[in-house]
Amino acid sequence: MSAGAVDVTYRGVFQKNLAGVITKELVKAARREDKFGGTVARYGDSPERNGIPAKQFAVIASDMASLQVEMTKYEPDNVVVVAVMDDTLAKGIESWAWYGVRPINLNLAPGGTLLVISRQDPAALLKWIPRRPQPWTLAILPGEPSFGGLWVYNDDGTDYRTMGAIARVTDGLVSLESLIAQAAGTRDGGKREQQLREGYEAVQLHQVAAGEGAEDTYVPVQMPDWTQMREGLVVPAVEVGRTNELFMKYTTRTARPLIKFDACVKCQICYTVCPDECFIPTPEGHYDVNYDHCCGCGICAQSCPVSGCIEMVNEAVFDGNEPLHGVYERDPAAYEELRAEKLAKAGGPVPHYGIY
């Protein structure tokens, strides 16, 4: 009498189908082992806007009663694998407002596996992922974040490779053989089998000791009780010039705007158009970026009239969210060096980024 869950954390809306295929096929394969299963979607406000983190769970149970209980929870318990479809999500996720930014491994069961699709090495990922009181496994499946278009299924094999990796890292939740048997019945069954085996072989496992990893700064959000909440759904505003610490938006971001202050003509357009009011005027008329609240939408980069002044750069090459104008103030040349270094590391700016 037990149930285990696989949490697929993905970026909506581009990876929605990816998460859907993985969770559904895991359940179908488990059915071949006479297990029961279902999937649970977790979403918040506009979860499937560009880049917003979301989750879909596959629950696999030995009996129907265990499954029924898990199917009526926001998020199932006993998550044995968290599969992360984009390694920048390892910085934390805030997929539903009011919970704050949560560590990517927060809901991992003791001894569970965090499976990340990434080209980075474990040490680089562990700079972002907080420590846990128990040992856990960091599994890396070498690869890039898979993006289809809006709702479109991107058939690049990421789904089946991930499933193969999941079969490897879970002890008997669902077997590689069942996944292969299940894939045999689908279109391109042969190709799928190969991808399953590839994922199974290619995944690299690293044991993470208790206490190893980034500092855990997560503080669960304290929610008021019914006698403490203000009536009429009134929520205090933040003072002008300050920002709401409960509404960090940076986890939705796959790229961030990087500004060439030397090229800025101080036209104020970025300041006006940013939907999240991220731009902070500096005394000399530049606009610094508050990255804590930047969701990476790219509107500023598209709106800036100076070519090459605001560029969207892959989030994976940055640590932390500190505004960068301070570096520029101290030494414009050093800032330019930093910008060049980040752009080089990212392989240049992200082209055609954003809403168009």
């Binding site: 999937t39 979403y43 129907m64 009663a65 209980v69 009429g232």
Partner: protein, 426 residues
Amino acid sequence: MTTMETRAAGTAAAAAGSEEIITGCDAVAQALRLADVDVLAGYPIRPYDSVMTAVSKMIANGQMDAEFIVAESEHSQFEIGKHASLVGARAFIGSSGVGWMYGMEALVVTSSLRLPVIALVGNRALDDPGAFGVEHNDALMVRDTGWLLYWVESAQEALDTTLLAYRVAEDKRVMLPCALSMDGAFLTHSQHIVQVPGPAPVAEFLPPYDLGDRRFHPDNPVSIAPQFNEDWVMEARRQADAAMRRARGVIAEATADFRRVFGRGPDDPFVDTYRMEDAEYALIGMGTVGLVGKVAVDRMRAAGRRVGFVRVKWFRPFPRPELRALLRGVKGVGIVDRDYSFGSNAHGGVLYTEVAAALYPEPTRPVIVPFIAGLGGREVSVENIEEMTDITEELTARGELDASCQWIGVRGPASDPRYDVERGAR
């Protein structure tokens, strides 16, 4: 066996069907395809709108042949469904939360014109605050207006009941619209194991839609929806009342026929009862709370407690005869309302008021305890069900026939004299 298990197991034979892992919304979409629905009107709102996605995909893939009209609001959407039904098309509409409310005028004229449109309500808390989670108040808002209302518990039941709903609603003895309610997120967006039948049994079970001589068509010149003023209104209401009364018999007949054709389906058309034989205490609820309710009952039975669960499926017509028979001999009843009805009897929910009224004619009545739980998508856990059973047993032992409503799973004290009595808005 639990409900989901019975449904998942016994159906393999439903004529060339297949087992799928699909959401509640997908299951309804499959039923719409099988029922060969002619006109679907939609206007997006979470969480009901994944049925729109599923249907448009099937139409694009050539698996379904239907007019799919996306309106500019719920009000227009429901009007489109109503008019389609009026010209003889099998029609489908749907919404959630305040979207359902926005189209309220169109909803009440659909039932008063006696048009058998089927709606999906992906139950969602009414704004404000903005939230996606389940509350049953949206669908309940039409409870007095001649809509048949049903609450499903699983994706399988969603598929089956969509077919059943068309059969019942379009029956000449009924001709009323039917809204199928599905708990938002917990069922609209969760995938269950579902047996999808092939076309043959569906064709046998569901005759084509035939509006007869009410069909609005040049070959059949009629005028509908006139201004009656005070002269004819009451008679029209009495007709709808007669139709709702007749619906009980039609539902029973259609459910029995569903079992004959598909080889599965419930014994009792109106309520889903779980371990009620020899039960001393019963909990009653609607929707997915049944899934945890039944597991909780198993646990409490294992500990030697004589507890059962009753899930109300058809809310309109209300299963008064079934509840009276079932609860005869039960000492204490807890009603789990996933809705509210501020200022009503005992400040309880809608289901409480209905059950309590249904039991009034009984010579000996159980203690009935109103509970409010799971609002706005708050989880109702096995432990919550056990807590409600404990409270029901305790109040029954004290013979508390005038129990006041208890909120389960709300943050904060059960009651706060300063707040309940003195303190106002700050």
